[in-house]
């Protein structure tokens, strides 16, 4: 008698115990569903965060902002500090390796006028690298160029919302825009950007990119602030690679502290944020996964329990089969086929329920659902091992049963 026939017989046997098989399957379904569900939700949460960081300039972005010293206990030195200056930028460029971009930003609120509108807005004076740093994308025309910075050219680049506000449906590129008393030529318009954390969220996390008005940093310094001023409002830096982070960022902090002799700046560092996020994510992942695995084990115990309960009921049957000539392995395979069916069916249905669960929760909570093949494989593996482990014991026990004992069993 070949293996296929024995397996077919096992299938026929399971069909006659549909109710019992369904119960066992339910155990595996719940286990697999909870593993898939929790993993999917956790991964979705994480992926959304990573997407935001990538879309807004990646994980290599480091910002330095001046901090207003309002503390009454602030020292004279702190009061005397001149804040961030162009000299800081030069010093960082000269002495701290590991950053491939170090750019100053100077901003002022100015009255902006066109034929269509007139309103005060914060104008950002930057270098060309600013676009790379923040992932600004040019829709039409061009961004501020190195040439613009060298010549302190009177050109500007508009965010999508500002372009519409000041020029309506006309193409703003090449047109004039008055900033305070100066006439600027519009060199380019940025692409419209959006990112919502939830689908029902009304806050566009990338909305500021649509609302910027960008000019060359030198133009801002010479024509607006006054050529003598060295003060700047922000230093934007980009790490050359993730590896340089641990050396470069503390070095930056030390350098600025030494130069200012005051705590009048703050460093915003995405690596830290992401590491923190990952750390938290790990804790959540572990907790949720542990819950999932516990339910899987419970499912396995359900399988084993029902198998053992039905085992006594089936002892006579095993005895009869053996009297008719069934060998140990026939009985073993028959029992194992049942486990395999329970696993396969339970795993598949559990996967379906889990995926549905993830999407349902994601829909209700406006989260993003993510399911990777690795997760599906992991859930399948869990279901398989649980069912084999818990199904093997009754199968071995049945196979070794003495036919006389089994037949006599009432």
């Amino acid at each position: 008698m070949n293996l296929l026939e024995v397996i077919a017989d096992g299938f026929a046997d399971v069909r006659t115990h549909a109710g019992r098989t369904a119960l066992q399957t339910l155990g595996v379904v719940l286990g697999v569903a909870s593993v898939v569900g929790t993993m999917g939700l956790m991964a979705g949460e994480r992926q959304q965060s990573l997407r935001y960081y990538t879309e807004s300039g990646g994980v290599l972005k480091v910002m330095v902002w001046p901090k207003t010293v309002e503390n009454v206990r602030s020292s004279a030195r702190e009061m005397a500090s001149r804040g961030l200056t162009l000299d800081d930028v030069e010093a960082v460029r000269a002495s701290i390796p590991g950053f491939d971009l170090v750019e100053p930003k100077i901003g002022r609120t100015l009255l902006v006028r066109s034929a269509r509108a007139s309103k005060s807005y914060y104008i950002t004076g930057v270098a060309p690298a600013y676009a790379d740093l923040h992932e600004l994308q040019v829709e039409r025309g061009r961004f501020v160029s190195q040439d613009d910075v060298a010549t302190a050219g009177t050109v500007c680049v508009l965010g999508a919302d500002r372009a519409r506000e000041f020029f309506g449906s006309e193409d703003p590129v090449g047109q004039n825009l008055r900033l305070s008393d100066h006439l600027f030529r519009v060199a380019g318009v940025l692409r419209y950007r959006e990112f919502y954390w939830n689908r029902s969220d009304s806050y566009n996390a990338l909305g500021w990119m649509n609302e910027v008005i960008v000019v060359p940093v030198t133009t801002m310094q010479v024509r607006v602030v006054g050529a003598g001023s060295r003060r700047i409002d922000e230093i934007g830096l980009r790490l050359a690679s993730v590896k340089t982070h641990d050396a470069s960022v503390p070095a930056l902090q030390r350098l600025l502290t030494n130069r200012h002799r005051a705590d009048d700046f703050q460093v915003y560092d995405r690596q830290d944020r992401i590491q923190q996020m990952n750390q938290q994510g790990k804790v959540y992942d572990f907790t949720f996964l542990a819950c999932g695995i516990i339910s899987l084990v419970v499912g396995g115990i359900v399988v084993a329990n029902i198998m053992l309960a039905s085992f006594t009921e089936r002892m006579r049957e095993v005895g009869v089969r053996k009297a008719l000539g069934a060998k140990g392995w026939h009985v073993f395979v028959q029992f194992l086929v049942e486990s395999a069916i329970v696993t396969g069916l339970g795993g598949a249905v559990g996967l379906g329920v889990g995926v549905g669960f993830v999407h349902g929760i994601a829909y209700l909570l406006d989260q993003t659902a993510v399911l990777t093949p690795a997760m599906i494989a992991a859930a399948g593996l869990c279901a398989g091992s649980v069912s084999v482990i818990f199904g093997l014991y009754p199968a071995v026990k049945a196979a070794r049963l003495d036919p006389v004992v089994a037949l006599r069993y009432e």
């Binding site: 008698m1 070949n2 026939e5 017989d9 026929a12 046997d13 006659t16 115990h17 006579r316 049957e317 005895g319 009869v320 089969r321 053996k322 009297a323 008719l324 000539g325 069934a326 060998k327 140990g328 026939h330 003495d402 036919p403 006389v404 037949l407």
Partner: protein, 231 residues
Amino acid sequence: MSEMLIELGGIWKTYDTGEVAVDALRGIDLVVERGEYVAIMGPSGSGKSTLMHILGCLDSPTKGSYRLDGEEVGHRSAGRLAVVRNRFIGFVFQNYNLLPRASLLRNVELPLLYGGLERERRRIRAQQMLDQVGLGDRGKSRPNQLSGGQRQRAAIARALVTEPALLLADEPTGNLDQATGGEVMDIFDALNGCGQTVIVVTHDPQVAAHAHRIVRIVDGKIAHDQETRAA
């Protein structure tokens, strides 16, 4: 092919119950020829069930030799005993022992499945057997849809489907009323009439009366062995 189907020589069966060793069989010598119709009788606790288990290769003797169809089978492994049961022995039990959730046809087919017969031939052969016991149209029924007599007839069909050398029945009428029990015994008589070797284990003298030879077991030994009529 040997004339002697069964040759038991000095069979002992000892059950080790932990503190006391119980001798269920104490030196059984028994020879059964092909075509015989034997009733094994004895009070409960006499060891007749143990003897039946050994005759049926469900159990191995502690001591002694058992030659079935000329081959020593007394001390084979569990797996090889399963093959012997499948090829040489057909069982009929008091409580039928049909698989409750399988159809009659499937029940009758089962020994052929373990014997390795292919599907088509299994079906045909099992159907033939059901036809022979008058249940040809009940192949799809479950055992619990049948009367006791019908169930026992199905069990007989299952026992004979592999054309075994020995039909071994354990109180085959124990769960049946007088009339139905009589019908079952008539089947055994007819089978024996066609040359089938039949051994019936019973304590019912009326059942034993159908056999041509009565072997009485008392305290694990053969107390009496008697031909009741010419075979």
